[in-house]
Symmetry: C2
Subunit: 400 residues, 2 copies
């Protein structure tokens, strides 16, 4: 991390996507980043405020072997702030995570504030959820914050629209996103040239700089989605994300958009479905050609006592587990399922012990990451259709 | 754990205390239990409701090498209840802790309920903090609960008195404790003979049964303390505890009692100072001949952002740590101090992330357990006075 990019290495890409196997639309590959290779399709645990809630990084790395996590620009910008993160050597050093990170742009978070924000051509004005202060986020600010964070993958600053938006609303928003994407790209390039990235790493066959992903918007309107994709690809990015799904629309709408958009996406670059979803969603989206996912479900549901298992969801509060000495999931090899019973986890949850959140979160992350491991192996071995069928059947047999 | 005690092994003791080294009153030894040896002096992390709050047992075992933890009879009896714990095979199996456990009697907890309880000759009537139901705890009930829990060391059911109790109050209470100790002993023996203990283990040179400790009461009145000790030793136990200290009295009073009582205690059996204390208290009590300790300080303070370090307490909330990249304690080898900065821990605490509690609790437990490791080594190598002096000096140099 000492010297910065040389003239020679600056022509190298920030990421390299290696296509390894394909079955139907499903594809297995390796995403080479400056902090090591990531086998795809991959699930990224969400590390909102500099921690994947309820788990220590040692376990995420050593036992669960997560290769990449997501950090939230909005949260980290407001607290502790980029001056502190810069002073501590960037986000990786600040939090103690040596592997790859993707940061979102803050666009979705400020959009989620609803009545508390005002969107203009310039950017989004909003009140901080921390101290109520007036703040302003724009493509330029988001790129500066993400350079200070030093993530491997930076996301453009976009606007999201509700699933039920009219055609006109969705079109207007999609066009704003396209203009913001251009401003993001320009600012990002300027910041890379100015060496503002705190995460620079000298890497083999890669530039060592940050990568930038574009985001396709357009709500449920397929022609807007196609136009958004075209405009985004025209600007040119290291990977492409589908945003604005899983925000309240019907699940069938989500898959309709994916079915239509993915085949149009550049085949040699990674495809990221933002904020999705359940284990079943992941497998179904992989079958349609998606490579990357992030979702709060395993961690958030871990804190509310809901476990994901190979036989579907399990609510640990249910009285039927009071004296049940079985693990959450007898198909799971994680350290929680090897050691602890449903009876014990239920007791911890009812007693309000934080260990309940810790253990169920751990299992949920293990289940999501194991599912993706199974997905990858089955694509490589040519058995993905069988994996998909059996996985779905088992999920619906009910473990309760 | 299959077969129960044979006629031959029933004459063996439940515990064996091996005296290894002595320096002044300080002594190093090994307490042999049915679940393995415990080097003394030893600190027992408190596992109130079947979990040492904020840490997984894997880490307590593998990294911190805690050999014995304390469980609370009162809490576990009320929730999940002994039917559930029996159905799940006893407390060790229920919570997934294979090493030794000591359970308190519930006496201190119901005493702490204050106005919510009524103490009579028979026992203590109180309202459950869980559901408000009327409950009754007595020597007989406490022994039955502790047999169901299956801990290695059972404590007699005692009454505690406030530090400021008059002589008459303290005397009356001490005499009640003596009568309860006799009833505890009788019930305990009957339960062991009836094989009610869920934790029976076939052990070399030991009976494999539970051990029972007596408790010395008498508040700050030295003659009452001596009388209590005599009555307790007359009944006969596997070890002796000093109770009713660290309940609001001056620190000098605590050490005055210890100075007076410990030299009168049976030299061949373990001595346990209940509910004490700060790292400094531990070292000072070891210097006076104590072998065992338990205290909630490392875990409770871990949740309120207060770290124990070799240079004294450190409040993680302080603004001065905002960009401080040093660990909590540069003398500490724990996994938290090896990886995380004060700046990061402060950020986690202010953000309300549970990882703050997890990491500071982990460090605090490491510090307490490491301190006791240092104490043991220095007694064995004949350098305890030096250790004690340097430890105390360093504590007062202030790390802030």
């Amino acid at each position: 991390m000492s010297t910065h990019q040389s003239t020679a290495s600056s022509t190298l890409p920030a990421l390299r996507f290696e296509h390894v196997a394909q079955q139907g639309e499903a594809r297995a590959g390796v995403l080479h980043t400056r902090r090591g290779p990531i086998e795809t399709p991959v699930f990224m645990p969400v590390g909102t405020a500099g921690t994947v809630k309820g788990i220590r990084f040692e376990q995420l790395e050593r036992e669960l072997d997560a290769r990449i996590i997501l950090g939230n620009t909005y949260h980290l910008w407001l607290r502790p702030g980029i001056e502190t993160i810069r002073a501590c050597g960037g986000l990786h050093r600040f939090i103690g995570w040596e592997r790859a990170m993707l940061t979102d742009s803050g666009g979705f978070q400020v959009w989620s504030l609803g009545a508390l924000r005002k969107i203009s051509e310039e950017g989004t004005e909003f009140r901080s959820h921390v101290d109520g202060s007036l703040q302003f986020l724009s493509p330029e600010v988001s790129m500066e914050v993400q350079a200070a964070l030093g993530s491997e993958i930076v996301m453009v600053f976009d606007e999201c629209v509700p699933g039920e938006a009219t055609y006109e609303e969705a079109q207007k928003s999609m066009q704003l996103t396209a203009r913001w994407a251009r401003r993001s790209r320009d600012t990002f390039d300027r910041l890379q040239a100015a060496r503002a990235d705190t995460g620079y790493v000298e890497a083999r066959n890669l530039s060592g700089s940050q990568a930038l992903f574009g985001i396709v918007q357009g709500a449920s309107h397929l022609d807007l989605r196609r136009a958004s994709l075209e405009q985004t690809v025209e600007i040119g990015f290291d990977g492409y994300a589908i945003g604005g799904l899983s925000v309240g629309e019907e699940k069938s709408v989500m898959f309709e958009v994916i079915d239509d958009v993915v085949p149009q996406m550049p085949p040699d670059q990674p495809r990221y479905l933002m904020g999705v979803g359940t284990p079943e969603d992941l497998v179904e989206a992989v079958a349609r050609g998606i490579d990357m996912f992030d979702c709060v479900l395993p961690t958030r549901n871990g804190r509310t006592g809901q476990a994901f298992t190979s036989r579907g969801k399990l609510n640990i509060k249910n009285a039927q587990w009071t004296r049940d000495t079985r693990p959450l999931d007898d198909q799971c090899g994680c350290s929680v399922c090897q050691k602890h019973s449903r009876a014990y986890l239920r007791h911890l949850y009812l007693t309000g012990e934080m260990l309940a959140s810790i253990l169920i979160t751990h299992h949920n992350l293990a289940f999501f990451l194991d599912t993706m491991r199974g997905v990858r192996q089955s694509i490589r071995s040519g058995e993905f259709p069988k994996f998909r069928r059996e996985f779905t059947e088992r999920l619906n047999t009910s473990g309760e």
